[in-house]
């Protein structure tokens, strides 16, 4: 079965602290994984995808196939990082571009 799990509903950190949002997946084959973010009163938007290996807004995510994880990390959290974060897996059942989302984690960065 294809599944994405984000174990934390809420992650609360102080400004300047490191952040790690956890994502685990279940998938047979080579997964394509994404992080999407939804800031308050804004649309859901793509933050990064593992294939591009980019760092966006200071965030990085490394695919660990052994642990079936794709955790999102940032060394120093900023207040503007407060948002809902979703991990997503590209469905491999057909070439349709469907995404399977995790439950989401709310990141709260306190001043």
């Amino acid at each position: 079965a294809q599944r994405v799990t984000q174990p934390e509903k809420l992650l609360s950190v102080f400004k300047g602290a490191p952040v790690e949002l956890k994502c685990n997946y279940s998938y047979s084959g080579s997964p394509e994984l994404f992080w999407y973010v939804q800031y308050s009163r804004q649309r859901l938007q793509l933050l990064l995808r593992h294939i591009s290996r980019e760092s966006i807004k200071g965030f990085t995510a490394d695919l660990n196939k052994g642990e079936t994880s794709f955790h999102l990390k940032k060394p120093f959290a900023q207040e503007e990082d407060s948002a809902m974060y979703y991990c997503a897996l590209l469905s491999g059942s057909s070439n349709t571009g469907k995404l399977i989302f995790g439950q989401g984690t709310t990141l709260q960065v306190k001043p």
């Binding site: 994405v4 984000q6 509903k9 394509e32 994404f34 999407y36 649309r43 859901l44 938007q45 793509l46 995808r49 979703y86 997503a88 590209l90 070439n95 349709t96 571009g97 469907k98 995404l99 399977i100 989302f101 995790g102 439950q103 989401g104």
Partner: protein, 113 residues
């Protein structure tokens, strides 16, 4: 914003009434999707479309139907709304084929009383 708009943005309705949500894109992208967002469940796919008159079911399609009679519009219909369909509905389009990079609409908040 990839030219995607949803309407209505907010709607309150009563159990048993039909409801139609509209997703409109200003470009000719082939793939369009309807998701619902619920606390504890994240986003779940309801239906998707891969072209005019070409649609298929997603994970939570029961109680919903869709239509796509022209490229730019993808309609989601709740045939007889129930309280369990109270949710925020998001439309999305793929501008890069089937790569998983989606652009989302602003969402439609539906309350079924």
């Amino acid at each position: 914003d990839a030219g995607i708009t949803q309407s209505p943005r907010h709607k309150v309705t009563e159990t048993g009434t039909p409801v139609t949500l509209r997703c409109h894109q200003t470009e000719n992208h082939r793939y369009m999707y309807w998701y619902r967002q619920d606390p504890g469940h994240g986003l779940r796919l309801i239906h998707y479309s891969y072209g005019v008159k070409d649609t298929d079911k997603g994970e939570v399609s029961d109680g919903y139907s869709v239509s796509r009679s022209k490229t730019e519009d993808f309609l989601l219909t709740l045939e007889s709304a129930t309280s369990s369909q109270t949710s925020v509905y998001f439309c999305a389009i793929s501008v890069t084929g089937t790569t998983g990079e989606l652009f989302f609409g602003e969402g439609s908040r539906l309350t079924v009383l």
